[in-house]
């Protein structure tokens, strides 16, 4: 069976310059969509500055700009409910002999 190294051809190891060249216009379009969404909220009546969704978006945008790696995973975790390793005990889920 092929290993990860065997099957991932070196040709796909694009340089950072190649990635930004390939994907700049796509990223540009996405950041514009986000900017326009924020403008739309700003133009609308009412105040959502302290709302949970706005807070999550603000924290997500902070992740995009920080120096850390794994940005997609960290944004996902930011937008996720917490996992409690004791959930089976809390919910009284019991299994015998499995």
């Amino acid at each position: 069976m092929n290993t990860k190294q065997d099957i991932l051809d070196p040709i796909v190891e694009r340089t950072a310059h190649q990635v930004i060249a390939d994907e700049f216009l796509i990223a540009r379009a996405k950041i514009l969509e986000l900017a326009a969404t924020l403008d739309r909220i700003e133009r609308s009546s009412g105040d959502v500055e302290d709302s949970i969704p706005m807070n999550l978006l603000a924290q997500g945008m902070h992740i995009l700009c920080d120096e850390e790696v794994d940005k997609a995973k960290r944004v996902q975790l930011l937008m996720s409910r917490q996992y409690d390793p004791q959930w089976q005990h809390t919910m009284s889920i019991t299994r015998k002999g499995v």
Partner: protein
């Protein structure tokens, strides 16, 4: 390129979609039982649905040269109704001998409740009792991480299960590693908004490698694209990946996983 879509709800799609899929290279699909968009009222509704999945849908697919497989269960959303769920689980064995049934699925969690977990565990008992493979739905959006971890706790806690016969679906960046490192198969669902894009799926293939990993469209009655796998093929080609790697993800891996069920015959 020939490909297999391991998760596609064709009962919600038109016959035109079958023709389009065939033209784009789809040679086989597997269709897990799922939520119809409304809660069904009785076990007889499920009996009719399972007849549709095991009798009618394979014939419709065959008209376009596509082999149709299926998985049976009561989905996580309707599993909140414990009484109905137990009636459906008791009825499922009537259909396990059908020639296109690959196993039990898509079972899982929706809002990560006690009732959902109870019925998930009872589905595991059914799968073990009848030596069936298992296909698992993980929750959407903010519930995904918590629900996936809960599902893995239940799977890992069951020593009767062969992990190589379990597919955990709808993985994303924050759940894929937990699934793969515990020896299960993982499926990435290509959805326009709520799950994963072809670009992010390609990123996960590059980061985690192609072993025990597949992709699906999960096309259904909601916003979805049944031809999403060709989009992933295109993205991988654009990045310069080899035909061998692409074929492994979209054909060989589903074939290898499904081959563990007797009804799967695709060569």
């Amino acid at each position: 390129m020939d490909y297999i879509d391991p998760h596609l709800h064709m009962v919600s799609r038109t016959t035109d979609d079958y023709e389009t899929l065939a033209r784009m290279g789809c040679v086989a699909i597997s269709e897990p039982a799922f939520w119809a968009g409304f809660d069904r009222g009785s076990v007889e509704s499920f009996r009719d649905y399972f007849r549709q999945l095991t009798e009618f849908e394979p014939k419709r697919a065959a008209q376009y040269g596509i082999t149709h497989y299926t998985w049976l269960c009561i989905n996580a959303k309707e599993a909140e109704n414990i009484t109905l769920s137990r009636e459906v689980i008791a009825m499922i064995p009537e259909f396990l001998g059908a020639k296109n049934v690959l196993g039990i699925g898509e079972i899982g969690l929706n809002k990560n409740t006690r009732n959902e977990a109870t019925i998930f565990l009872e589905h595991l008992d059914l799968a073990v009792q009848y030596n069936q493979q298992i296909l698992i739905h993980t929750p959407h959006l903010e519930d995904k991480y918590q629900g996936t971890r809960m599902i893995l706790d239940m799977l890992i806690g069951d020593s009767r299960l062969d992990r190589s016969r379990v597919l955990v679906d709808h993985v994303e960046e924050h759940t894929i590693e937990h699934v793969l490192e515990n020896g299960f198969w993982a499926g990435m669902t290509l959805y326009p908004v709520s799950k994963c894009t072809p670009q992010r799926a390609a990123d996960m293939i590059e980061r985690f490698g192609p072993e025990r990993l597949m992709a699906n469209s999960a096309g259904d009655w909601g916003p979805s694209k049944p031809t999403a796998i060709p989009d992933l093929i295109m993205e991988l080609k654009k990045r310069g990946h080899s035909k061998e790697l692409i074929r492994k993800i979209v054909f060989e891996n589903p074939k290898q996983f499904f081959s563990q069920s007797k009804p799967f015959v695709h060569g």
